[in-house]
């Protein structure tokens, strides 16, 4: 069904692009050097459509580019002022929803939420800070859950499984009470490399591997020199 020799023509903000059957709008745009910002997406994981930052507009309808299959002739609006402002609003919502204190965070410089805030030049969020009372939770012997920073992107839920394929992480409750929890027995049994991966896959500093930290000094981290999205867009001229 997904004949990869077939090319699908589409446009993003008027730029002609080509993609393959089975791709999402976001994947195909990336291959054409067009960056559609995203946060909950992680290469190789089933998309969740939870952060909504990749929201694009097609024919007046809003959709998440990370979940929307590419079809022939789509005219995608991406980098237009009102959409960009909505994305900035979503980023700001995440900042006020939790307690994000970048200077003391192990993930600073490697944090995708922080990187997006820089990209969108967020200074002070338009929303009032909610200052929720959240805890730091030891989750088994290998990892810590820093709930203050969790953005419920569900990457850990989707991407970290036990040896027999069970969920190590999962969501509890709903609405503003929603939180990520672990199966402690399974989390304790996670091999060290898997625990480290869980931390790396978390876009913020919510999953922390115990007994490591600041292995790469601030200043030499992923987004310290080049903004998020530059891997897709190439160097700015």
């Amino acid at each position: 069904m997904n004949d990869t020799s077939v090319k699908i023509r589409f446009t993003v903000d008027g730029k002609e692009c080509f993609g393959k059957p089975g791709q999402t709008i976001l994947e195909a745009a990336r291959e054409n050097g067009v960056y559609i910002p995203s946060l909950c997406r992680y290469e190789g994981f089933v998309p969740a459509g939870s952060c909504r930052i990749c929201t694009v507009r097609v024919g007046g309808r809003y959709m998440s580019a990370c979940t929307q299959p590419l079809t022939e002739g789509l005219a995608v609006e991406n980098k237009v002022p009102d959409l960009e402002d909505m994305r900035k609003a979503l980023i700001e919502m995440l900042f006020v929803e939790g307690n994000h204190l970048c200077p003391s965070c192990e993930k600073s410089g490697n944090c995708e939420l922080q990187a997006l805030a820089y990209r969108y030049q967020m200074l002070v969020p338009r929303f009032p800070y909610q200052f929720p009372v959240r805890r730091v939770e030891p989750a088994g012997t290998k990892i810590l859950l820093e709930h203050n920073r969790c953005i419920k992107c569900l990457r850990c839920v989707r991407g970290v499984k036990s040896r027999d394929g069970r969920n190590v992480f999962g969501p509890l409750h709903r609405s503003t009470d929603k939180k990520i929890a672990v199966d402690r027995a399974l989390a304790t049994k996670l091999p060290d490399d898997q625990a480290l991966k869980a931390m790396e896959r978390c876009p913020v500093g919510s999953i922390l591997k115990k007994e490591v930290g600041f292995a790469v000094p601030i200043g030499r981290r992923k987004y310290d020199k080049r903004p998020i999205g530059s891997d897709v867009e190439g160097p700015k001229d």
Binding site: S50, S64, M86, A89, E97, V168, R174, S175, K178, A181
Partner: protein, 603 residues
């Protein structure tokens, strides 16, 4: 009756099938009054799940709890109409008599008090569910009786009296719920003889059945109005099998209760509609997803299913046609408004947290158990059976050209005759208000909180997909009401019911509500008013499912239709007014120390 045996025996009754998770948790909740960590671990081990999967389900649904909920768990409906009819007084009576606050249990663990959103009894509020038993038209006196009975450890069924009308009083329903059928129309409430629709269907090919439903222009009655024939057509064209028919009997939109009446009085018509749908799409299995609040109807529905099997309306070789096999199982939810969204409903029917799926793929491609599924509303399936019985021409003669047939409306609020009205599409709001005795309304909430609030000036508008589309909730708001109370109640509802999956709905709505309180509290400026509208649009445009996309509607539609109320609240002369009030912020401290702040600090 709650099951009392050892825990292992309870689990042993179930197969190792993760799709039964909700059923197992429901049994444990009923037996123990909560789902303790030991039970979580045992269930997870049994089903091959992790403990977070089980805890995720326990904490998602209203009627499950990780902490002891009380031998008697009282769920008082506090939606808008219940509040209008005195829910606050009833709540106070419960607290006084039971001796504990809402959200807690009595110290002996016997009684737990909880608030819940609409339980589908808006025509007989205030109402409550206590251990699954429905109590309607609660009064302080009745509460006193109920609490005394709970303290004495009595069976509450003897107090759920007098019985309602029709099938409500029959065995095995025996409930005090009243049907309140105020107007019978030709589609739903005309006499129906079981077996006539499947017989007509069996005489046609499945494609012809779909063509007939398309010709009738039947649009989905849940509110969205998707063409039913087209949905069936899409589903039939999918090559994968088996396919499924799922009936969405999770009417959770505050103010709607018409499916309750169908399930009580016309389940045979509904089930026959499901069989017709099954024949059309090539499905042999149907699932009725019943909201937990209506679990009191389950035994009744099972009984009707048995009767229909005996009459060969369900089962093998229906209407004597070889290959026309169809049967129905009932799945019961556990309390979550979002499960009315079809993909969330499917997740819940599979035993999981009721969180919507990304679409596409749509349920017709990837539905129940990942297989092609048509999900239809209760009323839609009833209408489909009628279309087969009486023909598309007849159906098209009712309603308007774009909105054919009739609509069941659930009318409640400030009116003399709340109840169910079956009206032809095209009826003006004004005319319905006359029928229901709500002529002095200042506004009407059409389609529930996710719908729109319309002012008197729009009462000439018509109930039809081309004008006021609605799933059927119609709440009359009298002149004595403060519309901001309405908006607040609805926003609290959406905040409570958000599944929390996506950012705008989860994080945005509390911010919207806070902004509303700022404005209503007299601290708003022109900028605040512009911002609340802009933020509402962000949530509407970027949310992942229908719940999120419509969640700012209480604010957006009242700003659109009652802008003057908001304008009156804001200070046009002020550039900025701080939300922060120092006096209020330090009130607890000053009252303890007996100090007062200097006047200048109150600014």
């Amino acid at each position: 009756m709650p099951w009392k045996g050892p825990f292992d025996a309870l689990l042993a009754r179930y197969p190792k099938d993760a799709s039964r998770l909700i059923d197992i948790v429901r049994d444990v909740q009923a037996a123990l009054g909560h789902v303790p960590p030991k039970a979580v671990a045992a269930i997870a081990a049994k089903l091959g799940l992790s403990t977070v999967d089980v805890e995720g389900v326990v904490t998602f649904y209203h009627f499950f709890s990780a902490a002891p909920a009380g031998t008697y768990a009282v769920y008082l409906n506090t939606n808008l109409v219940s509040e209008m009819k005195g829910a606050a007084e009833v709540a106070a009576a419960f607290e006084k008599e039971a001796g504990c606050a809402f959200g807690m249990t009595t110290s002996d663990g016997r009684i737990g008090l909880y608030k819940t959103s609409c339980i589908g009894m808006n025509d007989q509020e205030p109402s409550a569910l206590i251990n699954g038993i429905v109590f309607t038209k609660l009064t302080k006196k009745k509460v006193k009786e109920i609490v005394a009975a709970m303290k004495a450890g009595r069976d509450l069924r003897t107090l759920a009296r007098p019985y309602g009308d029709g099938a409500n009083r029959s065995n095995p329903v025996r409930s005090m719920v009243r049907n309140n059928i105020r107007k019978k129309g030709p589609v739903l409430f005309a006499p129906f003889s079981s077996g006539t629709a499947v017989k007509k269907a069996a005489a046609l090919s499945p494609e012809e059945v779909i063509a007939e439903v398309k010709k009738a222009n039947l649009l989905g009655r849940g509110g969205a109005g998707f063409p039913t024939g087209l949905k069936w057509d899409f589903c039939r064209r999918e090559t994968r099998t088996p396919r499924y028919v799922v009936c969405n009997a999770d009417e959770g939109e505050p103010g709607t209760f018409k499916d309750r009446v169908i399930l009580t009085e016309l389940p045979h018509l509904l089930f026959e509609g499901m069989a017709v749908a099954g024949y059309a799409i090539g499905a042999a299995e149907g699932v009725l997803y019943l909201r937990s609040e209506y679990a009191y109807l389950r035994a009744h529905l099972e009984k009707v299913l048995a009767t229909l099997r005996a009459k060969k309306v369900l089962g093998r070789s229906i209407a004597g046609k070889r290959g026309f096999s169809f049967d129905i199982t009932i799945k019961v939810g556990a309390g979550a408004y979002v499960c009315g969204e079809e993909s969330a409903l499917l997740e819940s029917a599979e035993g999981k947290r009721g969180e919507p799926r990304d679409r596409p793929p749509f349920p017709v491609q990837f539905g129940y158990n990942g297989l092609p599924t048509t999900v239809n509303n209760v009323e839609t399936l009833c209408a489909a059976a009628r279309i087969l019985e009486r023909g598309s021409m007849w159906f098209r003669s009712l309603g308007t050209p774009k909105s054919t047939g009739t609509k069941l409306l659930s009318v409640s609020g400030d009116c003399k005759r709340p109840g169910v009205y079956e009206v032809e599409f095209g009826l003006a709001v004004q005319r319905l208000l006359e029928m229901a005795g709500g002529m002095d309304a200042q506004a009407v909430q059409v389609g529930g909180p996710s719908g729109q609030c319309i002012p008197r000036g729009q009462f000439d508008r018509r109930i039809a997909f081309e004008d006021l589309a609605t799933g059927g909730s119609f709440i009359v708001i009298g002149p004595q009401r403060d519309l901001f109370d309405v908006v607040r109640n609805f926003m609290d509802f959406f905040i409570e019911e958000s599944c929390g999956w996506c950012v705008p709905c989860r994080a945005g709505n509390p911010l919207l509500k806070r902004k509303l309180e700022k404005i209503v509290g007299g601290k708003g400026t022109a900028r605040d008013l512009a911002e609340i509208e802009a933020w509402g649009k962000v949530i509407r445009n970027t949310s992942r499912c229908g719940l999120g996309q419509t969640s700012p509607n209480p604010i957006l539609t009242t700003i659109q239709n009652f802008r003057e109320l908001y304008e009156a609240m804001i200070d046009r002369s002020a550039e900025f007014i701080s939300e922060f009030d120092l006096g209020q912020a330090v009130q607890a401290a000053t009252s303890i120390t007996g100090q007062t702040l200097p006047e200048s600090h109150h600014e």
